[in-house]
């Protein structure tokens, strides 16, 4: 924590050189309020000052991209007059301090990013990372986070349709709580967070402003954890109210439907200062904010507290003076507070004739000016850091340490230990609201109807998946990130979807560690290469740094969210369960090699962190995924159901994939598999398991696309037999639920 004797700018998280830059921008010393505004807007969380130089290398354009990175959400054209807005965020540090509210407000925050674009949020996904749930503290974090997502998401009325659950000791001190949200809108309703029109009014909608969450972006999100932080940082965590948010969603969509809004922006990190400066900067106008007009929760709040509070469930709408009465009427219907707190002003003219919008904080519209700064200097002019990069010095030694040398005492026991059914988590989430969820949590990818209140009719569908491979990324962040994109493409293929866009949440350690910045840089390159190869532009992202505790960084954890489209959604896709008598095929790209380096088996059975992950042939992978997706797209369009069950082979290798399918089916299989950890649990991309009643036809289609097809066996019986290792389905099922059912009933 900040030292009370340090200069005030350092207490607020600004460096000496950043203070010098502020003095240069203003041409004078900032006052305390101005310093507070810069400290939150120039925080790592808001400004991306350590990552922006790298993020520029990502491909961001494509035929379907309507809005790319930099806005509140990316937007793609889904066809039939429907656009989809998508974003991913992290709420890692708040969740580490107060898991229920941290996770709940993470959901609330990303919903606002989506309906800010004019879209109704219709799907949420939650990738979660904890330490193993074998200690009281990890169980408290897991239970709190899941209840927070459940309590907020279910109540606010947005289905949570999937996610990920990863346990690894590296997250014990710093859990990761990421949340992805997708919204749908009639394409013509798309709006942006831009203020324009001198004399227009800035109306604050929603909750009152309190002292919660002050410094959330700077003190909390942009620094690591030490031992005694829990108590001192708790006031920086916000508190959520899903009922307020639900009414705010309905009120905002009603305002947008009646075209009463010139621009709209959510209040999230950095609160009112962020919303007013960003809207003004984008519109190249000025804004006067009357800080005394803001409805507060308690008396005596200082201007800096009001301007930087991160109280939840608030939006800033720019409306015309003529429209104000109708805005207030609609808000009253939804019991949503609507208060004029600002006015759009003429920009000043700079030395080269350019408009300079000035943000002025006043006490009364005609009262004292307590802060006066160029809006763009807050929103866009944070210093960019090209921090030093350094490949970790122990990486070569780790890569040389192939975990294959460790062997297995009991392959059956290892298999049971690697099975984990996350249903305990997703049963607590409403995953069906809006009647769109064709396949939800537990499937390879979520597949939903492209429908919702107020949308044009469509027979299309969309698919979502989130993936991560931190174990692989710790050994090779570039390859690991590319493999993560590849895994998402394979997941989408399992429901017949064509990939169209990527969002990413880059969860990394302390950017002041050169090894962490090297990981980030490599990871961005790997994502850029894969997204270019697969033709999937990156339409949005979030960077979460300072994920460290007691000086130790987490494994590099880029989370990739992939959105896919299905042209015609008329029938259910195959899922994991095969029928007795089906033939089970392994379908792989011809170039696949397997490795235990970075595998779940190495990490979870042996705690081994070494080895070299299997490589990726992006062209072969894309061709294989297209072939699988093509067969299944035909099925969901209503063609003959050639495939009865499908999965891609990912963490845990072919043994875990077959066990999950056998559990889902209640039907066994006997496979002549070499009894070695590599054959059972080796990981590598570009492999699918498909079950079918017509193996000749399916194998012919796969071979025609260049894939290698291996017949594994014919489904039936009560046991999964791999080589001579036989396990009953009942035992597999019990093993898969043991860990989480042990958390609580």
């Amino acid at each position: 924590m900040a030292d009370a004797a340090a200069p005030i700018h350092r207490q607020l998280g600004l460096t000496d050189s950043e203070l010098d830059l502020i003095i240069e921008v203003l041409g004078r010393e900032p006052n305390h309020l101005e310093l507070a505004l810069y400290s939150v807007m120039w925080s790592e969380h808001c400004s991306y000052k350590s990552s922006r130089v790298h993020l520029k290398r990502l491909p961001t354009t494509g035929d379907r991209v309507l809005v790319g990175p930099g806005e509140n959400a990316g937007v793609i054209d889904a066809g039939d007059g429907i656009a989809l807005a998508i974003r991913i965020e992290s709420h890692n540090h708040p969740s580490a301090i107060e898991p229920y509210q941290g996770a709940a407000t993470g959901v609330g925050g990303i919903l606002r990013d989506i309906f800010t674009m004019g879209a109704r949020p219709i799907a949420v996904m939650d990738p979660l990372f904890f330490g193993p749930p074998t200690t009281a503290r990890q169980r408290w974090l897991l239970e709190g986070v899941v209840s927070g997502i459940s309590g907020y998401g279910n109540s606010v009325g947005v289905p949570t349709i999937g996610g990920e659950l990863t346990f690894d000791p590296c997250y014990a001190g710093n859990p990761l709580v990421n949340v992805l949200c997708l919204g749908a809108l009639p394409t013509e309703r798309l709006v942006l967070g831009i203020a324009s029109g001198t004399g227009n009014l800035a109306v604050l909608l929603g909750s009152t402003t309190g002292r919660d969450g002050i410094g959330g972006v700077s003190v909390l999100a942009s620094a690591g954890f030490s031992d005694d932080d829990d108590q001192s940082k708790r006031p920086s965590v916000q508190v959520g109210d899903p009922y307020e948010e639900k009414r705010l969603i309905e009120a905002c969509l009603a305002l947008l439907d009646e075209r009463l809004v010139v621009g709209i922006q959510d209040l999230g990190g950095a609160g009112l200062v962020c919303a007013t400066s960003e809207t003004a900067a984008r519109g190249r106008v000025g804004m006067d904010v009357d800080v005394t007009a803001v409805p507060t929760r308690e008396a005596g709040m200082e201007p800096w507290e009001i301007m930087t509070s991160e109280s939840q469930e608030r939006m800033l709408a720019i409306v015309t003076p003529e429209g104000l009465a109708r805005v207030q009427e609609l808000c009253a219907r939804w019991e949503v507070r609507a208060t004029v707190v600002g006015r759009v002003t003429e920009p000043a003219i700079g030395p080269d004739g350019e408009p300079i919008g000035v943000l002025r904080i006043r006490k009364g519209f005609d009262g004292e000016i307590v802060a006066e700064v160029p809006a763009a200097s807050l929103a866009d002019d944070a210093p960019l850091y090209n921090r030093p990069l350094e490949r970790p010095s122990d990486l070569d030694a780790r890569r040389a340490d192939d975990p294959a040398r460790l062997g297995s005492a009991d392959l059956g026991a290892d298999l049971r230990a690697l099975l984990r059914d996350p249903a305990w988590v997703w049963r607590q989430y409403d995953h069906q609201l809006f009647l769109n969820t064709v396949t939800g949590p537990g499937a390879n990818a979520a597949l939903l109807r492209l429908a919702g209140p107020g949308l044009p009719e469509s027979n299309r569908g969309f698919a979502l998946t989130t993936d991560s491979n931190p174990r692989l990324c710790s050994l090779d962040p570039r390859l690991g990130t590319a493999l993560t994109v590849a895994e998402g493409i394979a997941n989408l293929a399992c429901v017949g979807a064509t990939p169209v866009a990527v969002v990413n949440c880059l969860n990394f350690g302390n950017p002041e560690h050169p090894t962490v910045m090297w990981q980030l840089s490599e990871s961005v390159d790997g994502m850029a290469e894969a997204c270019t190869a697969f033709g999937t532009p990156v339409v949005g992202g979030n960077v979460s740094l300072y994920n460290e505790s007691a000086g130790t960084d987490i494994d590099p954890t880029p989370v990739i969210g992939l959105l896919g489209l299905v042209d015609t959604l008329a029938a259910r896709p195959p899922v994991l369960s095969w029928n007795d008598g089906d033939t089970v095929l392994l379908v792989a790209a011809p170039t696949v090699a397997l490795s235990l380096g970075g595998s779940r088996w190495a990490r979870e059975i042996h705690g081994a962190t070494g080895g070299v992950p299997a490589g990726l042939d992006a062209d072969a992978h894309a061709a294989l995924c297209r072939a699988v997706a093509s067969v299944i797209a035909g099925q969901v369009a209503g063609d003959h159901a050639l495939v009865t069950a499908v999965t891609d082979v990912s963490g845990g290798g072919v043994a875990v994939a077959l066990a999950e399918m056998a559990i889902a089916s209640g039907s066994g299989l006997s496979v002549a598999l070499e009894e070695s950890p590599t054959a059972f649990f080796g990981e590598g991309p570009s492999r699918f398991i498909l079950a079918t009643a017509d193996p000749d036809a399916l194998a012919a289609r796969m071979r025609a696309a260049g894939a290698e097809v291996t017949m594994l066996g014919v489904a039936g019986g009560d046991d999964l037999v791999l080589g001579q290792v036989a396990t009953s389905i009942a035992d597999l099922r019990a093993a898969s639920t043991a860990l989480l059912e042990g958390v609580s009933a």
Partner: protein
Amino acid sequence: MSRAAVIVFPGSNCEHDAVSGLELAGASAELVWHTETDLSGYDLVVLPGGFAHGDYLRAGALARLSPIMDTVAAFAASGGPVVGICNGFQVLTEAGMLPGALQKNAHLKFHCKDSTLIVASSRSVLTRGVAVGTELSIPINHFSGSYVCDEATLQRLQDNDQVVLRYAENPNGSLDDIAGISNDAGNVVGLMPHPERACSALLGSTDGLVLLQAFVGAAVSA
């Protein structure tokens, strides 16, 4: 065509889904805001799922005070078919239109999953013409779905054929495996499962239509 009113409280979230289910079952359906006080012209009333008034205080405790509820009570008193789904069931018990109460699930967790229901009475507006013993696959989605009442009330429910639906496998600790009940006259029904979520083969089940079609049919005969 029968005309259904789907009551919307601030915090309701299944109102559009309810409209969709009713339309698939052959009715026309419109959203009616909770501050309205007129239901003339409607043949059916549905209280949908969600979190009316945020479920603050207790699920349904504030919704029973919304202006529309006196009109809903009068509609029911004149024999009009009323069904409360999930949060709607909670509202009906809080409003005293159905006996008993719904408390937190036995395991103190929210549960969203498929459930198998067994029709226990053919007398209610939701199950008229559906054979007792019929099994229906319809999902549940609730935190407070454990039905409780005193012994005398349970006896009366059983004796008067007011237990409408039971769970094949009790998911929440409900007394007597109760998933849905009716009032004495059979024209007011509350159930925790969501029939509107089971009206499409694409989504996995059409069994909800069995109930909603019976309900829409009740409008004509009421």
